[in-house]
């Protein structure tokens, strides 16, 4: 037996209202973050390796940090190899806002949703997070729609990626972390001469 058509939850107006309320809530309780979509360079489709990555753009958008009492993850891990920070966080962003600011066609982005490998810069803690998984079905069809993306992220470890965004604070990540050749240069020098004057 089919569902009762008189009690359908697929009213577009209600869906839009629900999404508007979510967006407004995110704007009230969220944080301003910068979303950096990744561009994969020279992907090895045999082994699935995507070592070279470029981040050419950054977009400011509001996101809600779900873990309110501190970052998730294993925290600061002390091992015999030194200290490792394994902070994790879960960011929630409204789909409509993501598509309107980041996912629009004129932007330098190839996907229609947040994808794993993209970065989120949280100015609050000066932390860069890498998206490890995007949960696109939470909350689960409350009004027969999916208004948010929930992104589980871990602290990003720089590994030679190329940052060419408009924000110098983000670009400095590669300056500080890249394998760098320090050169001293031979500057061109101009020749000089003096004239000797005498009687001929």
């Amino acid at each position: 037996m089919a569902t009762n058509i008189y009690f359908s939850q697929k009213h577009t107006n209600e869906q839009n209202l629900h999404e508007d309320i979510i967006i407004e809530s995110l704007k009230l309780y969220g944080q301003d973050v910068y979303y950096l979509p990744r561009t994969i360079v020279n992907e090895n489709k045999v082994f699935g390796e995507d070592i070279p990555s470029i981040f050419n753009s950054s977009y400011k958008i509001e996101m809600y940090i779900e873990n309110a009492e501190g970052f998730d993850g294993e925290g600061d891990l002390f091992t015999k190899f030194g200290v490792e920070i394994r902070d994790a966080a879960t960011f929630i962003v409204a789909r409509r806002r993501w598509s309107g600011i980041i996912g629009q066609g004129s932007n330098d982005i190839e996907t229609e949703r947040p994808v794993e490998g993209d970065l989120i810069w949280l100015p609050l803690s000066n932390s860069m997070f890498e998206i490890m998984h995007v949960e696109h079905e939470s909350p689960f069809y409350q009004l027969s729609n999916l208004p948010t993306y929930k992104m589980r992220c871990e602290l990003f470890e720089y590994n030679g990626e190329d940052f060419n965004t408009s924000l110098e604070s983000l670009n400095s990540i590669e300056t500080e972390g890249s394998y760098t050749y320090e050169l001293t240069l031979n500057q061109p020098t101009t020749a000089t001469a003096t004239a000797v004057v005498g009687s001929v």
Partner: protein, 363 residues
């Protein structure tokens, strides 16, 4: 006359692509006017001229002008004759006053005979030194019952006809840019005093006497070997020698490097590409990140005289030394727990990779 006798290369320069242009500044002298004075002999003629200032900057032979004679009044020659009463003709003619300003032999005229049929006496005159010098009776005439009169035609010359003429002789050992002597072409006449000699001004400019030189280029070492003088120039001051300006190497005339600029670098035929992460022209340092080679293998930038780093806008620099710095191992997590991060002593134990167990004695 002071010219450039040598050019000393005090710095051979570096990283030239080709022989640069060499510019020697203009001589700082100014043209001087040649002057001369004349000498006049006892006959009223200009006998010679002495150059008192040879002048300078003469590129063509100037005109010389000698003043007109100061004696400006002409004078008729006067003749007299001896009448032959027996034969009723002219016995002889003589010059009483030779006159002056005669440019050609004047006519000599006798009065008509008194009785007919008579014959008109005739005579011819010659001039020398612009005066009447001789009278020759060519026909004694006949029928002169009384002494005739003889008249010499007046002179037709003006003082300007007797102006002396001269020309300059340029100094060959000076490449003919000053006056060596003044040669009298026509001594003129009737000078009662020493006339002025005027020599036209020089028309040369400093630009015409600028010295020229060319750079001899060492292609192997991209520097200059020497400077050759093409034109020695003239009128330079030995106490204030000219400036020698050698064009800059091509790279210096271009822009520097910008952060984020993509560069290329050739190592053994392989092209390396990278990104500038730091550049200081003052300190002659550059940092490169994301360096990769076109052949897919690992190559490091190499210090070499012929392997420039070429920027996107064509700027070039050579590499003196190369050191690599693997910053990935000293990432931000270590910085946080490094007690001396950014050279500032922090108030907690160092837990970075260099001191993983937080040894208090190893900060």
């Amino acid at each position: 006359m002071s010219s450039i006798i040598s050019l000393n290369l005090t710095n051979t320069g570096s990283r030239y692509d080709s022989a640069p242009s060499v510019i020697i500044s203009l001589p700082q002298g100014t043209p001087t006017h040649a002057t001369a004075t004349a000498a006049v002999d006892g006959l009223g003629k200009v006998s010679g001229a002495v150059v008192t200032n040879p002048g300078s900057y003469y590129i063509t032979q100037p005109q010389v002008t000698i003043d007109v004679p100061t004696d400006s009044s002409n004078k008729n020659a006067i003749a007299s004759l001896v009448w032959d009463n027996l034969n009723k003709n002219v016995y002889s003619v003589a010059i009483d006053d030779s006159g002056k300003f005669y440019t050609s032999a004047p006519t000599v005229t006798f009065s008509d005979p008194d009785s007919l049929p008579g014959t008109l006496a005739t005579a011819t005159a010659t001039i020398a030194n612009d005066r009447v010098s001789t009278l020759t009776l060519s026909n004694v005439g006949a029928g002169y019952t009384s002494a005739p009169t003889v008249t010499i035609a007046p002179p037709t010359g003006t003082p300007n006809n007797f102006r002396a003429q001269a020309a300059v002789i340029m100094k060959s050992e000076d490449s003919n840019n000053s006056i060596f002597s003044v040669s009298i072409l026509d001594s003129g006449n009737f000078y009662t005093g020493i006339p002025n000699i005027t020599i036209d001004s020089a028309t040369g400019t400093n630009q015409l006497f600028r010295a020229q030189a060319a750079a001899i280029f060492d292609f192997d070492n991209k520097r200059l070997l020497r400077l050759d003088i093409i034109h020695k120039g003239k009128y330079y001051d030995s106490s204030n020698p000219p400036l020698v300006t050698i064009a800059e190497p091509p790279a210096l005339t271009r822009l520097g490097f910008n952060i984020g600029e993509k560069i290329t670098h050739s190592v053994g035929g392989t092209i390396l590409r990278g990104e500038v992460s730091a550049y200081s022209k003052k300190n002659a340092t550059m940092s490169l990140i994301h360096v990769g080679a076109d052949d897919g293998n690992y190559h490091s930038p190499a210090a070499s005289t012929d392997s420039d780093i070429v920027g996107a806008n064509g700027s070039k620099v050579g590499i003196a030394t190369v050191t690599d710095n693997n910053k990935i191992q000293t990432n931000s997590q270590n910085d946080i727990f490094d007690a001396t991060a950014s050279n500032v002593l922090l108030d907690f134990l160092d837990f970075s990779e260099t001191n993983p167990f937080g040894d208090p004695g190893d900060t």
